[in-house]
């Protein structure tokens, strides 16, 4: 578990970092918290000639509400999310997610941006961000652009980020009143990737009917999965037992998991169903202020 050799760069500004990435080409990789990248290098499953460490680039660690969005800096850590007041008060789904990612040691290093940029469907934030309808801000040699989360994950370990682009911010729309979300994960032990995971974000109307539903699934396919049919089904409905059951069933239909030591395809799909139902119920009770 010793990586092959690589060159290490520590830019002090965003433009210097982007410059390095453009100049060094495909052999260079962004190093953020290192909690996904370094294990890959240590196992020699991947290699990189150059690591561009963005840890000294200023201004990327903030978490704040501004202009109708919760803005999470591209280098904000999981532990920052965990301890953020605004997240704890208004975005319980994010607090749920951070709390089940790895362990405190990893969370002190790992970044939310890296969790998305790694493009790993086993990571937990992608599902959450799908449920929340987030937008990713990317900055590269051609300037800044925004990428809707639905267009961000393009394949296994692949994202819409260009090689010289850095994920600088994640934007989440501030939820309207009577909103609530929850993330529920089944793991074999603490620190394990999900056997299955379900994120649900709901906004309810005056009569308790669903105005908006976002549902994302973890480890349910080659890319993070949005349970679009379930979301649509919930539109305008009240969340009684039968509705939840049917929505969960539809969500499970969207899951296309692979078998591994965590479980068979059948088990994982069924767990997507069970966890979606649980996430919906918890989200609903949070939306109702319970």
């Amino acid at each position: 578990m010793i990586p092959a050799s690589f060159d290490y760069h520590q830019p002090k500004t965003l433009s210097e970092a982007i410059g390095l990435l453009s100049r060094l080409g495909e052999g260079a990789k962004v190093l953020s918290g290192g909690q996904s990248l370094l294990p890959l290098l240590k196992l020699r499953l991947g290699s990189a000639g150059h690591l561009v460490d963005i840890g000294r680039v200023p201004g990327l660690e903030d978490i704040r509400e501004e202009g109708g969005f919760l803005k999470i800096g591209g280098r904000a850590r999981e532990s920052d999310l965990e301890h953020s007041d605004v997240v704890r008060k208004k975005y319980p789904i994010l607090a749920d997610t951070a709390a089940v990612i790895a362990d405190p040691l990893v969370r002190n290093m790992a970044t939310v941006g890296g969790n998305l940029a790694h493009g790993d469907p086993a990571n937990d934030h992608p599902a959450t961000m799908l449920a929340l309808g987030a937008t990713v801000v990317a900055t590269g040699s051609k300037g800044e652009r925004t990428i809707p989360i639905d267009q961000f994950f393009t394949g296994l370990f692949e994202t819409a980020l260009a090689h010289d682009e850095i994920l600088t911010e994640i934007r989440i729309p501030v939820p309207p009143p009577k909103s609530g979300g929850a993330y529920v994960k089944l793991e074999r032990k603490v620190g394990d990737f999900a056997t299955a995971g379900a994120a649900a974000q709901l906004t309810l109307g005056a009569g308790g009917e669903v105005v908006r539903a976002g549902i994302g699934l973890t480890n349910a396919g080659m890319t993070p999965v949005r349970a679009a049919a379930a979301e649509k089904f919930l539109q305008g409905k009240k969340l009684d037992e039968a509705t939840v059951r049917q929505a969960a069933r539809l969500a499970a239909d969207a899951a296309d998991p692979s078998p591994d030591r965590r479980g068979s395809v059948e088990y994982k799909r069924e767990m997507a169903r069970v966890l979606t139902a649980r996430a919906l119920k918890r989200a609903a009770s949070r939306a109702q202020g319970a």
């Binding site: 578990m1 010793i2 092959a4 050799s5 020699r44 362990d103 089944l186 074999r188 032990k189 603490v190 620190g191 394990d192 056997t195 030591r261 479980g263 068979s264 088990y267 069924e270 767990m271 069970v274 966890l275 649980r278």
Partner: protein
Amino acid sequence: MSAPTPKTTPEVGGMGHSIKRKEDPRFLRGRGNYVDDIQLPGMLHMDIARSPYAHAKIKKIDTEKAMKVPGVLAVITGATLEQYKLHWMPTLMSDTQMVLPTDRVMYQAQEVAAVIATDRYAAADGAAAVEVEYEPLPVVVDPFKALEPGAPVLRTDKPGKKDNRIWHWEAGDRAATEKAFREADVVVKEQIYIPRIHVASIETCGCVADFDRVTGKLTVFMTTQAPHAIRTVFALVAGHVGLSEEKIRIVSPDIGGGFGGKVPVYPGYVIAVAASVVIGKPVKWVEDRMENLQADSFARDYHMTAELAAKKDGTMTAVRIKTLADHGYADAAANPSKFPAGLFSICTGSYDLKNAFCEVDGVYTNKPPGGVAYRCSFRVTEAVHAIERITDRLAQELKMDPAALRMKNFIPKEKFPYHSALGWEYDSGDYPAALKKAMDLIGYDALRKEQVEKRAKGELMGIGISSFTEIVGAGPSKHFDILGIKMFDSCELRVHPTGKAIARFGTKSQGQGHETTYAQIIAEELGIPAAHVQVEEGDTDTAPYGLGTYASRSTPTAGAAGAIAARKVRDKAKKIAAHLLEVSEDDLVWEPGKFSVKGAPQKAKTIQEIALAAYTNHPQGMEAGLEAVDYYDPPNLTFPFGSYICVVDIDRGTGEVKIRRFVAVDDCGNIINPMIVDGQIHGGLTMGMAPALLEEISYDEQGNNQAGSFMDYLVPTAMETPSWETAKTTTPSPHHPFGAKGVGESATVGAPPAIVNAVVDALAHLGVKHLDIPITPEKVWRILKEKGVAE
């Protein structure tokens, strides 16, 4: 029954005092000294290239690219070692295993070549650059198939070997047992598999081998639980290349967990030693986590068919167990020589069984060699699992309460010492008392009521019991040896002029706290405060010879030697006291720390005064000094026991098993340090829960390890661990010098069946009779789904 009050003051800290561990200040400050902390001038580093195949012919090893990596000095292959006849080595079970292969690999991750380099990174780059051409051979993974006619014979290196059976071993009266089965009212039978698991100690294995070309002395700092035995093995194996025992020094520094995994000699040690001897510089080799999990000795892997016969009223009459033991490609266990299946014949457990028969067949497969006794004495975990599981099966069959069935069949207290049907003499026990205490603590009757109510609501909860009997402290020289060396252990005790002492032992702590508990033994016997007793182990140049620490043997053997050595010192102290006080020895009475004159307690000499006199004013004709040595040969093994009760709740949606409560009542005889005993039990319970619910090493059909890193080998953390509730009964060992029995492994042995029995109990009304470990969420969920009760 209850713990005796301590004889010494807390300041002296003898038996029964929970004094703080003397080793902890250095560990807590990060000042321990483990093998990987050792840095020697000019030290080189070694890394190992390993086989991706489980069984393959080696057609060619090309080291050219590796030699070109900057910093790489040498690449060692089987061909290199063959020149010195070091390419094969004996195992502790008198089998053989490769150090490095010359023509064939037998398991995935087997060592193929070793790279020596000036730094650790260069060594790793060098190992990655070794090019090996393989020709895959048919792989034998399943031990049952390994025994079928026509299966590829794996050990073609053994002349005349025609199959994959290693040995057959049996114990008990086959005919009488068969008769008892024929005459039984009820017979239950279950196939029970205990999967391959790994000790996964926090510190992996490694060494620094340092051969001094001028003096010809070889020093090896090594992660070993048995340094003295290792020195002798090295002398025997490498005698022909000029290593002789007085020129070998094995040092076992601080050890980060052993659990049996650091008893064997691994190829890496031998290669590092060979490299240091050839190059003349120190060579460090420390495995990484994946090498440790994939190549080092595993544990368990027992396929058992267990049967129990009984009368209608629940009286058990006979037990019979037939087992296949998957040893991988070599029997590299570390059992006493005469016991290829360890002490598996403890499988009559805590019950007064008149008839018993067990047999075990060792089998070769294309897996790493083993299997070590992972915190289980020797195969006691397997034996206890079989009897405790099948006992619950019987209870289920007879519709009897499992606690009542156990109470009915326990060996009664009056029958100790008890001669078991399989030949052991159980030293002492009070089994009903331990179970009763556990039932009272957990509120057994109330839980049974709750279970009925929960079932009516469709909720799943279960209660599981395990009333185990351990067998530890190997062992009496009549039966116990490893490679011919008898399994005594030793203490050398020296009291200094100012009344402080140093005690050295033949064992080696790996976290058990010997520096504290051994000091307490001396404190108990001599009244010298434990704080003033320096304990040392692990350096073969200074410590007396002993067989090391495993199988819960340290307190039963070396601890006993400590007490006897202290008593020898006390005998001499008495002579000196008589001289000082000018009375006859017969007129002296001892209380911890001093001799006084009968009837005149003010006329007394403390042990400190006596110690000073031993060097400054000893009687004419007596040797100066105050010291003693003892090599303790135990008259019998000791038999710790206990009753554990576990309560589980099952999530009907996910199949997850949650341990709600776990009460562990242990009886390990007289206790030296209650806090340390509790620590041992907490750790042991967690290590017992791990294979019950999480850990397993399995292989696919090609022999690929499916759990070769901590990603899939699921070692529990504090988050998975319930809050253990512990309690004790105290039944001293009648033959041990201070009545202790050993406790290091009781909980690992006792916990798994309690958990399995609880889960089966939760599902019993659905018709479930048995579950193999680990009980994963999916395993449970499949049952829930099949029975139509899944959420």
